[in-house]
């Protein structure tokens, strides 16, 4: 009975000092609650909106425009299954806005039928969708109209047809902002498009969307469509894939939450360590008065529980606030609209995990109070000796709980094990470093050094030193925050675009027919520009791999075989004499020329695509090029840097055999200015509506904007880790300060100036900060490398600036916290403090 009131009364005067404890836990729980709630809302959104994003219950696709017989088959299947049908033909094209005389690369979505089958199109005016269906006008994305300085009522020309703009589209189901950055969408009536735009060599995709209520009918329709040779996809499968993909995002986010919570735990352990030490004499007195060791522990465990609950509670409230920000930060990347609903289970989980983590992390240092001998009341030096089995048990429990928690968050035992393994290695490494530092500090100081430095270094090994505790807490903090930072940097580095240089083409002309090539060259020359490069493009499909027909491979539903999508897809390949600077040969020999008479043509494949196709070096691929089968042997594999804005190809053939095959040409030019680029585009598109011109600089600018948003989202998440890391820093430094105050006062009593004492504090803390930064930094580089190598599969080069900044910033921060912490002790007269310390 006494325990509760005693626990309450004993915490008086300490509550304010345990703010760090509460703060550390609150930050960790806030991250967790925000991320879990967001993840939950995201899953719900995916579940509810996939069908809208997908556009129907069933999709039937072709890589070419639907032919008349396709339309007949689609109609008959729709009639037989009672389905509602929408057809879409999509292709990239140039659009001319006569009002401003400007052309723009757009993604055309030519539709017929009652689009959309699911969800709503938000458009202006409200009657826009009806007008679009009935009148045969065009609808344009809001961003496109804005860019072109056009409005509803103007007209737009695509190919040789001109359409009145009947509506502005504000939002369609399944369109993410990022998607539309690259190709703003223009909606046209399918029946009225210029057929030359979807002719040979165009990058056209046709899709039929079916709305079918009954699952049986869906099944029937899917089978019939597959038999008719369509590529069929179903919303339910799409939903499963989406759930998996959002699961990945959620897992990554939860790891951030786990890091924040672990950091919070470190803060708790540090703060409680100080508390337990400060309470040793009170505990000894209570023990003299007859309180059993377990009841003493219960007193402090109760305090930890109460404070943990308060911290977790504040964290939950904070988390709800942060959750409201997450959809705003991540929305540009998501095709679904994520709600801001409160998720009771996430709130409860945050509260529960927060309280359990707070108590476990607190109990680890608090277990020591159980072993404070009552003799301590008589002798200040009386301490318990030997290993405390309870601490060992608590340590194991903590490890088990952490594993269970990480596993719950990631649902992957390898990640959980790797994560904890990394932490264990870091912990061990830091402990060894602390031992080495303590040993070295004994002999390193020279009499010639300033007194403050010698004293500061002596503090690292003197009895009662805090070297181990501080190095562990600071080092682990640095390690966790920096790992996240370096990984984020590596991800962003992988996406960073090469700077503009003199030779790089900035306008790319696609879909130039061979008979148009000369005329296009002339137009380019007339504009005073030159062609930097020409890349032939040959469309083909895979007919067989190693003698097995594509149909048989597609019919094989076992997991072991090649990826079905890789076999079924349309390949746009090229031929040339050598490698480009975005490619590296990884296996075999690149063959640059071959004869048209060769029965087997050498081909160089992208190594990842070869793996998806299940083809090795020396393997055979039969390609169908416009109805003619061509036998090839894989003679080399290449690694391609897809992030570079240049035409890259999965399959590259030697010069010679494909020279006469049906093809289009991609022309690379350098316009150097936006005006020259616009003028060239307008001229080319005027003359040849089928040719698409892409201003690379414009695309690069858009991509950079997207990357900026990605970086912002990542930084936003890293903020949690840094904020909690700072709380840990404060708590860890307080550990040492509690001890050092008495020494500082003593030094002041025997005549040291405040400045001298301050320098001693700076020497000790800056030294420890530097060691923690170096060790934590080294561990973080190793961990970030492992993450880059194995988890993200991206190249990794640690950013030296980050490391330098860490090495400078952490010691400075620790020293500042140290000086600030000792300020109150330094400001008072020594005698005053000595009295208070008694």
């Amino acid at each position: 009975m006494l325990i509760f009131p005693l626990a309450w009364r004993d915490s008086r005067g300490m509550r304010r000092r345990l703010v760090l404890y509460i703060g550390a836990m609150a930050m960790g729980v806030a991250a967790l609650v925000a991320i879990r709630s967001f993840g939950d809302n995201l899953s719900t959104a995916v579940e509810e909106q996939t069908i809208e994003v997908f556009g129907g219950d069933l999709q039937a696709r072709r890589g070419v425009p639907f032919q008349e017989r396709d339309d007949i088959v689609l109609d008959s299947i729709a009639t037989a299954t009672g389905a509602t049908l929408v057809r879409e033909v999509s292709f990239p094209s140039m659009a001319l806005f006569p009002a401003s005389e400007v052309t723009r690369f757009v993604q055309v979505r030519a539709l017929d039928g009652p689009y959309p089958l699911y969800g709503q199109v938000e458009a202006f005016p409200e009657t826009a969708v009806k007008a679009f269906r009935d009148t045969g006008g065009a609808m344009a994305e809001a961003a496109l109209l804005l860019q072109m300085n056009a409005e509803v009522g103007d007209s737009v020309r695509v190919g040789n047809r001109t359409y009145p703009i009947v509506g502005r589209v504000d939002r369609v189901p399944g369109q993410s902002d990022v998607g539309s950055l690259v190709g703003p969408q223009l909606y046209l009536p399918r029946g009225q498009i210029d057929s030359t735009l979807t002719g040979f060599g165009s990058r056209t995709r046709s899709t039929a969307f079916f709305r079918i209520a009954s699952a049986d009918e869906q099944e029937k329709a899917a089978l019939a469509l597959e038999e008719a040779g369509f590529r069929v996809e179903r919303a339910v499968e799409e939903q499963a894939e989406w759930t998996e993909a959002t699961g990945d995002l959620a897992r990554f986010l939860s790891l951030v939450g786990v890091v924040a919570l672990l950091l919070g735990g470190l803060g708790v352990a540090s703060a409680m360590g100080v508390y337990a030490r400060e309470k040793a004499e009170t505990v000894a007195t209570l023990r003299c008065l007859g309180l059993s060791s377990w009841r003493v522990l219960a007193i402090y465990a109760l305090q930890a529980l109460a404070l943990g609950t308060v911290g977790a509670g504040i964290g939950v409230i904070l988390g709800v606030g942060v959750q409201r920000l997450l959809p705003a930060v991540l929305a540009p990347f998501l095709p679904v609209t994520v709600a801001n609903d409160l998720v009771p289970s996430a709130l409860l989980e945050g509260l529960g995990v927060g309280v359990v983590a707070a108590v476990l992390f607190a109990l680890l240092p608090l277990a020591a109070v159980r072993r404070v001998p009552p003799l301590r009341a008589l002798r200040a030096d009386a301490t318990a000796r030997g290993l405390d089995p309870l601490r060992l048990v608590l340590g194991l429990a903590l490890l088990g709980a952490a594993y269970g928690f990480v596993f719950l968050q990631t649902q992957d035992w390898r990640i959980a094990l790797g994560f904890l393994g990394g932490l264990a290695v870091s912990f061990g490494g830091l402990a060894v470093l602390a031992a080495v530092v303590r040993r070295l500090a004994r002999g390193v100081a020279r009499p010639s050094w300033p007194f403050a430095w010698r004293q500061g270094i002596a503090n690292l090994h003197a009895p009662g030193n805090q070297t181990l505790v501080l190095l562990l807490a600071l080092g682990l903090g640095v390690f966790l925050v920096l790992t996240l930072g370096l990984t984020q940097r590596a991800i962003l580095d992988g996406l960073t675009l090469p700077r503009d240089d003199e030779q790089r083409p900035d306008v790319v002309l696609f879909d130039v027919q061979p008979d148009q090539a000369d005329s296009v060259r002339t137009i380019v020359a007339e504009q005073g520009l030159s062609i930097v490069g020409e890349v032939p493009l040959v469309q083909m499909r895979i007919a067989a791999i190693d003698g097995i027909a594509a149909d048989s491979l597609l019919a094989d539903t076992s997991e072991a075989g090649p990826e079905r999508w890789a076999i079924a897809r349309e390949y746009r390949s090229t031929y040339r004499g050598g490698l480009t600077d975005t490619e590296v040969l990884t296996e075999g020999t690149f063959v640059g020329t071959a004869s048209t008479d060769d029965a087997v043509i050498p081909v160089s494949m992208d190594q990842d695509m070869a793996a998806d196709l299940g083809v090795k070096l020396g393997g055979r691929i039969t390609w169908n090029v416009s109805g003619v089968d061509i036998e090839s042997e894989v003679t080399s594999l290449r690694e391609i840097d897809w992030a570079r804005p240049q035409p890259n190809f999965f399959a590259v053939f030697p010069e010679g055999p494909l020279d006469a095959a049906p093809q289009t040409v991609v022309m690379l030019t350098r316009a150097q200015s936006a005006e020259a680029s616009a003028s060239l585009q307008t001229r080319v598109v005027d003359a040849f509506p089928n040719v698409s011109a892409v201003d690379v600089r414009q695309v690069l600018a858009l991509v950079e904007r997207v990357l900026g948003q990605v970086a912002f989202a990542l930084r936003f998440l890293a903020f949690f880790a840094v904020a909690t890391g700072l709380a840990v820093l404060g708590a860890a430094v307080r550990v040492a300060l509690a001890r050092r105050t008495r020494e500082a006062v003593l030094l002041r009593t025997i005549g040291a100036s405040r400045e001298q004492v301050r320098r001693i504090v700076v020497a000790e803390y800056a030294g420890l900060g530097l060691l923690a930064a170096l060790m934590g930094g080294a561990l973080a580089v190793a961990a970030a490398w492992a993450l880059a190598q194995f988890a993200f599969q991206i190249p990794f080069r640690p950013d030296p600036w980050w490391l330098v900044a860490t090495a400078l910033l952490v010691p400075a921060l620790v020293a500042v916290v140290g000086v600030l912490g000792s300020r109150s002790a330094l400001a008072r007269p020594p005698l005053d403090v000595l009295r208070a310390e008694e």
Partner: protein
């Protein structure tokens, strides 16, 4: 004669210091009966505090036995000894050892509450009144002078009417005037409550107020006063000689 409330037999304590055994207490025996007052005196490092710690069950001896309130401590766990202390023992420390987060009243009530006494606070209030601090019940230790703090500590030591009270240099941190007032209080309460008193002190005047005195030097008993010691103490004399 009644049974002793504290019986110490052949007590020894050896530490290892710098790899070598260091005997700080060797072959000490004595008895304390109800209402007795005993002073343990000796120079610094003679083993006084070690003896007090062992006698009160705060530490375990290397050899010998301690029987407190009829219970042999050697077989008891730390928690069982704590329970025994709660029931029978009071403490007064040189540096008071009040719990800084509790008021004077709460500090005095702790031993009573540990026993589950329902009227703990009333009794604590009476004790504070008895030591002249009825007006200071709501004050925290930091708001009290040294003498007041020690009077609170004395009140706490007598709370729950312990059979035995250990005092470690009870006046060591106080000026002469305050010290003697606290002394008076200790002996008055000892007489009123019949609590046996074991005092570790440097103060010869304080030692002289006790019925008996054990003088320690180098961990052994020297210069006993045979006339005031029992038969057991004579055996100690023989060993010490």
């Amino acid at each position: 004669m009644s049974d002793p409330v504290l019986s110490v037999r052949d007590l020894a304590k050896t530490f290892t210091s710098g790899g070598r055994p260091l005997t700080v207490l060797d072959g000490v025996s004595f008895d304390v009966h109800p209402g007795d007052t005993l002073a343990i005196v000796g120079p610094s490092g003679s083993g006084k505090t070690t003896l007090l710690g062992l006698a009160a069950g705060l530490d375990r001896p290397s050899r010998g036995s301690v029987t407190l309130a009829g219970t042999d401590l050697s077989g008891l766990s730390e928690d069982a000894r704590a329970k025994l202390r709660a029931a029978h023992v009071g403490f007064v420390f040189q540096s008071f050892r009040l719990l800084p987060t509790l008021t004077a009243l709460d500090n005095v009530a702790v031993p009573l509450e540990l026993r589950g006494d329902r009227g703990a606070r009333d009794e604590a209030r009476q004790l504070l009144d008895r030591v002249g601090l009825a007006e200071r019940t709501g004050h925290y230790p930091s708001q009290l002078s040294g003498g007041e703090q020690q009077r609170v500590a004395v009140a706490r030591a007598f709370a729950g009417s312990p059979t035995l009270l250990f005092a470690d240099e009870p006046t060591g941190n106080l000026d002469d005037g305050t010290g003697s007032r606290v002394e008076d209080l200790l002996f008055d309460l000892n007489r009123e409550a019949g609590t046996a008193l074991v005092v570790v002190t440097h103060d010869l005047q304080l030692a002289a107020r006790c019925d008996r005195e054990i003088r320690l030097r180098g961990g052994r008993v020297v210069e006993p006063e045979p006339a005031r010691l029992g038969a057991e103490a004579e055996a100690v004399t023989e060993r010490a000689a």
